[in-house]
């Protein structure tokens, strides 16, 4: 009988504890660091003609969200290697205060603190860098839940998810506007367009081999360029007829054999050293069920493709990827 007494006060106390914790948050749902106001004075904009942009600037990201930048961002967090490359290509590498542990280009970003570790965003580290601009990636590369969390914390987030070459140009120009580097961005885009034009001119009129670009292979299913995907468009520009999979890029063994590609580019060789040697690669894919009879395997047209990173990373170096693709598909035209 005795123990009955202490219980009711206990549960009441707990009720108070919980509601006490919840109440202040309800009153100010997004009360948190708004670092833009405090950090402007610290970094005088590097003086070039490029900083002609006058702030505030309103930019719209790939999710259609508008963001008003009251001052030139000086503390930038990049949550994807492609975003990092764009920032650095606009000569703003020194403004990065957080990147991913997967970032490898340009080499100096190795010195920047990682806030994305093993593909997972450490929100606490992002906040700790006190960023005035966070560059996220779309299509779940930056998980939607993380973007929502950063939004809720009041951080200025831009989501970049280019699905075409034109969208990469647009992203670079968007970043140019956001960073006060619009002229540099325009120059960069013009240079990229010129190089793309050259590739198109070189492969023009050449026969277009039916090409399988292997992104990944597992349990008989090959992942290649998805129908209507960025990669498919690049293959097309590089003078191939891309063999595409479904929306996710998956193609089953029967469909693959039925399609019978003439050329196989092993993007997987970029990460799997055992596929880097052409002869070893040819033997490896020849052992897969049904593959030995493919035209590409019969003709020995299986190419270990070592430029997968620049080909699939939608940053300024995507043109390097396009050129590498064209060289791999039409080696005869690049002597």
């Amino acid at each position: 009988m005795a123990p009955r007494r202490p219980i009711v006060p206990l549960s009441v106390a707990l009720l108070f504890l919980v509601t006490a914790c919840a109440r202040p948050a309800d009153a100010t749902p997004a009360a948190s660091a708004a670092p833009t106001a405090s950090s402007t004075a610290s970094d005088p904009a590097p003086s070039t003609a490029a900083s002609a942009t006058t702030f505030p600037v309103t930019v719209t990201d790939d999710l259609g969200r508008e963001l008003v930048l009251t001052a030139e961002p000086s503390r930038i967090v990049s949550l994807a290697p492609s975003n990092t490359e764009i920032v650095c290509a606009l000569d703003a590498c020194d403004r990065l205060v957080g990147v991913t542990d997967y970032d490898d280009y340009p080499p100096e970003v190795a010195d920047v603190d990682d806030v994305v570790i093993a593909a997972s965003v450490d929100v606490e580290l992002v906040v700790a860098t006190e960023p005035d601009l966070v560059l996220a990636a779309g299509n779940e590369l930056t998980p939607t839940s993380v973007i929502e969390q950063l939004d809720a914390l009041g951080l200025p987030v831009l989501v970049l998810y280019p699905e075409t070459l034109d969208a990469v140009y647009a992203n670079i120009e968007l970043m140019g506007a956001a960073l006060g580097r619009a002229p540099a961005a325009a120059d960069l885009v013009a240079g990229m367009e010129a190089r793309v034009g050259e590739v198109v001119a070189v492969v023009e009129g050449a026969e277009r081999p039916l090409t399988l670009y292997e992104v990944f292979h597992s349990e008989g299913t090959t992942y290649t360029a998805g129908e209507g995907s960025f990669l498919a468009a690049l293959l097309e520009l590089a003078g191939a007829a891309p063999l595409t999979g479904d929306a996710q890029g998956a193609i089953g063994p029967e469909d693959l054999v039925a399609a019978d590609p003439e050329l196989i580019l092993l993007g997987t060789a970029s990460y799997d050293p055992s596929l880097a040697d052409p002869q070893a690669a040819l033997e490896a894919v020849g052992r897969r069920a049904g593959w030995a009879e493919l035209r590409a395997v019969q003709a020995g047209a299986v190419v270990p493709y070592l430029e997968d990173i620049v080909t699939t990373r939608p940053g300024p170096r995507i043109v390097d990827g396009l050129e590498a693709l064209a060289r791999a598909i039409h080696p005869d035209r690049f002597r």
Binding site: P3, L15, D122, V127, E148
Partner: protein, 374 residues
């Protein structure tokens, strides 16, 4: 002395025969000693506070004890000099604290519900997920995750949380409706219906996983259970539900104690067994669904904690429910701290890693330990 031993034996895992009505009644009447209960509750409160403080300090960015405490005091009372950066304040107040509170609230809800289900089903393996809320919540959450529309925020909580909560409740309602016959709701039928509905819903989840494409990562991390997305609005959604259901369950301690004796015995002492069963299942499901909605399906807390507490203080629900709530909160808080320190692995993995061996230990103890002690 006698009261120390008896409860442990009466509820040992795997005990085939229900305890006799007279011994159980005597136990309920006598209860454990007040001193022992006070010690156990004291340990629970101490653990809760220790975990809370440790969780405020642990993290990838370094924030000192003084600042962490100062920030919380400042936010709650408005007093104190500000010696920290705005970023530190955001990290402590918007990231760490809601996460700690969310973990504790969910743990409390799951452990309370587990204690109720174990009494109700008189089955030592009963846990809050047994009759469908986990599978229902999973299906709801995965549907929300895969909807092509941008998630609409409702009062600061996402569509995922809303659909998970609704899915969990709906699953239990369907199970209750199926299991209810002319002669009431037999416990065995309830279990079987729960199993079948869970399997059906899990098949739906599996189908959606297979077609989840680039959202696979989001789906898996929800299913594994994670508190990484915790925020004040989510706490504000789940906490009142869990605290209220806990209070209502505690008020029904007589029914729960009587049901331990068996349904016919409970009916003899004047309990409307069928009505009580439905109310208890409903409340426990509410508590579970509210927790799962903000954390994903975290296992083992609801199974292990009530067992552990019952071993310590006996089966009287006046004490068992509050103690389960305390230790559920402390244990999940601790597990989440471990998950964060281990580099952000899902907390559901940690509870399973700790919970399963612990459960096995309990099992061995009940098989070997009691025999040798006789």
């Amino acid at each position: 002395m006698g009261s120390r031993r008896l409860p442990a034996r009466s509820t040992r895992i795997g005990s085939a025969e229900p305890m006799s009505a007279t011994t159980a009644a005597r136990r309920v009447a006598f209860g454990p000693s007040l001193g022992r209960s006070a010690v156990v509750i004291g340990i629970g409160v101490g653990m809760l506070l220790a975990v809370a403080v440790a969780s405020m300090l642990a993290g990838t960015s370094r924030i000192g004890v003084g600042d962490a405490v100062g920030i919380v005091v400042h936010r709650v009372t408005g007093f104190g000099p500000v010696t920290w950066s705005p970023a530190a304040e955001t990290i402590v107040w918007e990231l760490r604290l809601p996460r700690v509170v969310a973990g504790m609230v969910v743990g409390a809800g799951l452990a309370t519900a587990g204690a109720v289900f174990q009494a109700l089903l008189r089955n030592p393996l009963a846990d809050p997920y047994l009759i469908g809320p986990a599978a229902g919540a999973s299906l709801g959450a995965v549907i929300a995750l895969l909807l092509p529309v941008a998630t609409v925020g409702l009062l600061g909580i996402g569509l995922v949380q809303v659909l998970a909560f609704a899915g969990g409740l709906l699953a239990v309602i369907v199970v209750l409706a199926i299991a209810r016959g002319h002669a009431g709701t037999p416990v065995v039928t309830l279990l079987l219906a729960g199993y079948a509905i869970s399997s059906l819903l899990s098949a739906g989840v599996a189908l959606l996983i297979f077609n989840s494409g680039e959202r696979l990562g989001a789906v898996i991390s929800w299913l594994l259970g994670s508190l990484a997305g915790a925020s004040w609005p989510r706490v504000g959604f789940a906490a009142p539900l869990i605290v209220i259901t806990f209070s209502l369950l505690l008020l029904r301690w007589r029914s729960l104690n009587a049901l331990l004796l068996g349904e016919s015995q409970a009916a003899h002492v004047g309990i409307d067994v069928e009505r009580e069963k439905r109310i208890l299942v409903g409340l426990a499901a509410l508590s579970t669904s509210a927790g799962v909605a903000i954390s994903g399906t975290i296992g083992f807390v609801g199974l292990v904690v009530p067992h552990l507490v019952r071993l310590a203080i006996g089966p009287d629900h006046r004490l068992l429910l509050p103690a389960s709530m305390l230790f559920g909160a402390g244990l999940l808080g601790l597990a989440d701290l471990g998950a964060r320190l281990a580099g952000g692995i899902p907390v559901g993995v940690v509870t399973a890693l700790i919970g399963a061996p612990f459960f096995l230990w309990l099992l061995r103890r009940s098989v070997v330990g009691t025999r040798s002690s006789r």
